[in-house]
């Protein structure tokens, strides 16, 4: 890659990050204002997730200049597989169960269809764990652990505070899968924190 191209990538990191946060905020806003239903919001979350992924990819290309390690290549492949699976099963779930409408599907069929998107997201959690195990570079591994801890703290904090606010009838009820979305938002905060404290975005 030429130096000019690398400079171009450097300029685009804030662009992709801004776009990821902007679309995340827009989807959250639409979902919380009941402009779109939960299923639509979940499907639309693919857009900020994809933009976040692109931000990390560009940031890594810019900061590393050293090529992607085998562990990171495997991670990207695994995330792509689980994200694609998520898209397929969420579409399947929405089309067969009809979104928010009550259907005549049996409990077993509803349970099977409903658990699949969650399992696909769990696959991404597993991919993060495997990346931590597979990564040979101790500095990069430390950044991934740090980023994931920040994301976990953010998601747990968000869940706890929201839960108490909900109990106090200050905020509306939200389905628990939004805490996984908070975790992925927390990954971005973790990446920014890594950049500020250690001069590198990390590898997620």
């Amino acid at each position: 890659m030429s130096t000019e191209a690398k400079r171009g990538f450097t300029r685009t990191v804030p662009f992709w990050a801004g776009l990821a946060f902007g679309t995340f905020g827009a989807v959250m806003g639409l979902a919380l204002s009941d402009a779109i239903n939960a299923a639509t919001a979940l499907i639309l979350m693919i857009v900020p997730a994809g933009l976040f992924f692109q931000t990390m990819r560009v940031a890594n290309t810019t900061a590393a200049c050293s090529g992607r390690g085998e562990a990171q290549r495997l991670y990207v492949k695994r995330v792509a597989i689980f994200a694609s699976t998520y898209l397929v099963v969420i579409a399947l779930q929405v089309s067969l169960l009809g979104g928010d409408e009550t259907t005549e599907a049996s409990l077993a069929a509803r349970a099977a269809l409903s658990v699949m998107p969650g399992l696909a997201i769990c696959g991404i959690f597993w991919a993060i764990g495997r990346l931590i195990l597979d990564e040979k570079d101790e500095f990069i591994r430390m950044l991934i652990v740090r980023q994931t801890l920040i994301a976990t703290g953010f998601a747990l904090g968000f869940a706890t505070i929201w839960g108490f606010l909900e109990a106090g009838e200050v905020v509306p009820h939200i389905p628990a899968y939004w805490f996984a979305v908070a975790f992925f938002g927390g990954q971005f905060i973790g990446a920014v924190s890594n950049r500020i404290t250690h001069g590198s975005w990390g590898a997620l």
Binding site: C65, D137, F139
Partner: protein, 63 residues
Amino acid sequence: MKNRLKVLRAERDWSQQHLADLLEVSRQSVNAIETGRYDPSLPLAFKIADVFEMAIEEIFQRD
């Protein structure tokens, strides 16, 4: 912890990428160690010492 990595690398006219290749780590790692943002583990510190053919304490010093 302070280190002389940047000076030693400059004396040999090595780029960060070249040193990273010798150490089998990323360029970010070399940069983070040089700038004092990251203290390497003992195995990596030994590897750095081996690459420069020096003792660890000649490269790394207490603050």
